[in-house]
């Protein structure tokens, strides 16, 4: 099934959720960028710091190399040996860097190509234990890296080299990451080196990173506040805009309803939307046409009403004027019979009685025609009536006939329904008196039942009379039709036509539900349940 919805409400929901989603996505991107920036910044800080350290190392080592190269030139002269001792003593206590914990160590190079004895430890202020001992390039650090091969390779190529590796500290047997600078002296006999432990650096880097982190978080918070503020502003502006549209549409609907109800054009000045103004212009064109058509319709209806009135007058006058001569025929026939009865033989008397019967029947037919013409034409007001009471009235009217024919009428639990009382009386009067008339049973039993469906009341009138032939089922509701062409049975033959007409007026229908010759008949008819208002028919 198609689902209906409010366009404006839907747009409202859509736009607000869009703005919120965009806001959330924006904030997420900002946070991700911040994290990314933080990582880049961190590695930058780290690289810069390490480079600073490397420059420090290089400077220190270069200074030592410079002295060693100088000394090398003069050491060849034996006299200067104490100077070397002095220099080594100096190196023993020499520390540099911010915390004064970096030191210089020197290797005596034996084979620049490496090998188990590629060098001897010449000097290390923290490792007197290995001073003078051979060292191998196959030595691996804590992470399994042969860092000596690496710095040898660098020395062979450039005469200097930075290498990162893991090495234990003096005061801590656990290996720590370290970067060292190695450089060859000019005579290529010594390698001067110095290192710095990076985990000391790491603490500093952490501190720096914390600061950067705080800065980034502050920036992100600022951006989020701006985004949230923007989103709120956007929603606010949008709501204002939507409210404006809502108001305009309400005004439009009011104008439209007013125009439709009062049948006049939409006059407006408060609507500024061109789309709506165009619609209003179109509606006005349609309304103008509608007004013209309705006026025409009104005129036509008035004409029809007038014609109907004329017709009613006409048929009334006709039937009235027709009845006068018929009454005269009948009356004077009877007067003749009364006054001159003795002068007539039986045949003449029979002729007169035939004249009387025929004129009586014609008068009845004219009366019924009059009734029929009135049923369809007058304004009907439906009111709540007890069907049981209506049938009691019918019973009173027919009481004499019922006594004569030994008729029993049975009914109970009949409802109160909206109907036209007199016409409903006519319906039951006709059906019940028909049942009495067309009964050859000595004990006529007429039963009235009642049933209900969602839209209709359904009544059944059952008798145990002569019954009706199947081919007559529909015909009997026609005008001046009788199921039994029995001359002895009175009636114009318009009774069921009147009944059918009344039931149609009550938005129901009537039919022969069952009938068998010699056994009886059931008439069923329905009355609409929706008659509780005044209706013009």
């Amino acid at each position: 099934m198609k689902e209906n919805y409010h366009l404006i409400k839907r747009i409202e929901k859509l736009v607000i959720s869009l703005v919120l989603i965009i806001g959330v996505i924006f904030i997420a991107i900002i946070i991700l960028k911040g994290i990314n920036f933080f990582h880049k910044k961190s590695s930058l800080i780290r690289t810069r710091y390490i480079n600073e350290q490397k420059i420090l190392l290089k400077n220190e080592v270069d200074r030592i190399i410079l002295r060693m190269n100088y000394m090398n030139n003069i050491v060849k002269r034996e006299k200067i040996k104490p100077i070397i001792k002095n220099f080594l003593n100096f190196l023993k206590s020499y520390r540099f860097g911010k915390n004064k914990n970096n030191y210089i160590f020197i290797l005596e190079l034996l084979n620049i190509n490496g090998g188990d004895k590629f060098a001897k430890m010449f000097f290390n202020p923290n490792r007197h234990d290995i001073t003078g001992k051979y060292i191998s390039d196959k030595f691996k650090d804590a992470k399994g890296k042969e860092f000596r091969k690496e710095f040898l390779k660098g020395l062979r190529k450039d005469g200097e080299c930075f290498v990162e590796y893991w090495y234990k500290k003096i005061d801590n047997p656990k290996p720590s990451p370290k970067v060292s600078y190695f450089k060859l002296t000019d005579d290529k006999k010594y390698i001067v080196a110095s290192g710095v432990y990076l985990d000391d650096v790491e603490n500093k880097i952490n501190l720096l990173q914390k600061k950067v982190k705080q800065d980034i978080i502050n920036e992100i918070i600022t951006v989020i506040i701006i985004v949230v503020f923007t989103v709120i502003m956007l929603i606010f502006i949008f709501s204002f805009f939507i409210n404006n549209i809502k108001k305009t549409i309400n005004i439009f609907m009011e104008l439209f309803n007013d125009a439709i109800i009062n049948n006049r054009e939409i006059k407006q000045s408060s609507i500024k939307y061109l789309e709506l103004i165009n619609i209003i212009e179109d509606i006005n064109v349609i309304l103008q046409e509608k007004i013209i058509i309705e006026n025409e319709l009104k005129n036509k209806m008035q004409e029809i009403t007038n014609i109907n009135k004329k017709l009613e007058n006409y048929s009334y006058t006709i039937s009235h004027d027709l009845k006068e001569p018929i009454r005269s025929i009948r009356t004077f026939s009877e007067f003749i019979l009364e006054d001159y009865e003795d002068s007539f033989d039986d045949e003449a008397r029979d002729y007169f009685s035939r004249i009387i019967k025929a004129s009586t029947k014609m008068a009845l037919m004219i009366d019924d025609l009059l009734t029929l013409s009135r049923i369809g034409r007058i304004n009907v007001e439906f009111s709540l009536n007890s069907i049981s009471k209506i049938i009691e009235n019918v019973k009173d009217t027919l009481s004499q006939k019922m006594k004569q024919t030994n008729t029993v009428l049975e009914f109970n639990n009949l409802p109160e329904i909206y109907c036209q009382k007199t016409w409903m009386y006519t319906v039951f009067l006709n059906l019940i008196s028909n049942a009495i008339k067309y009964s050859d049973n000595e004990n006529t039993v007429i039963e009235i039942f009642y049933d209900e469906s969602p839209d209709f009341y359904e009544f059944s009138v059952k008798d145990n009379g002569k019954g009706i032939e199947k081919e007559q089922f529909d015909k009997i509701f026609g005008l001046f039709r009788k199921a039994h062409q029995d001359k002895n049975i009175e009636g114009s033959g318009a009774g069921l036509a009147i009944v059918s007409s009344v039931i149609e007026q009550h938005k129901g229908r009537i039919w022969v539900a069952w009938s068998e010759i010699g056994k009886g008949t059931i008439f069923k008819f329905t009355i609409s349940k929706n008659l509780n208002s005044k209706e013009n028919i």
Binding site: H320, K323, E324, R327, R330, T331, T360
Partner: protein, 140 residues
């Protein structure tokens, strides 16, 4: 000689015959005067002699020249005529007509029955009510 006259205002000769036959069956034997429309009735009643002996008017509604309604209407302005009871005797049973006739001051409205026996009965009861009962001296 009974001088209490019944004025029949009726254009249909047949109906006049029936009314007369009915009155003949009654025991009162009032004289009858017949006119064929309202104008003639007014003219007849314009004569003081006629006015004083007329005790009842039987009035048809549908008549040429001046119909029953107009007669009733004119009668409202004639105090002496107004004292004479009027019984409308007609074949119209339109509610409009009935209402209008009573509004114009008719004293009774009777439909001409189709059945001659009932017609005679109606005439007799009209006569009984409006002539016979009105003759009973008032109880002091």
């Amino acid at each position: 000689m009974n001088e209490e006259l019944i004025l029949i205002v009726e254009d249909n000769d047949d109906d006049v015959l029936m009314i007369k036959r009915g009155l003949k069956k009654g025991k009162l034997g009032n004289p009858v005067h017949r006119v064929t429309n309202g104008a003639e009735a007014l003219e007849y009643l314009n004569n003081n002699d006629n006015l004083s002996k007329t005790k009842l008017i039987l009035l048809d509604l549908n008549m040429e020249i001046m119909n029953g309604f107009e007669f009733l209407h004119r009668r409202l302005d004639l105090p002496k005529v107004k004292n004479i009871p009027v019984v409308v005797l007609t074949s119209s049973i339109r509610e409009n007509d009935i209402q209008k006739a009573y509004d114009l001051g008719c004293n009774s409205y009777v439909e001409k029955p189709l059945d001659p026996k009932k017609f005679i009965e109606a005439i007799l009861s009209i006569e009984n009510f409006w002539i016979y009962f009105s003759r009973i001296p008032e109880v002091s």
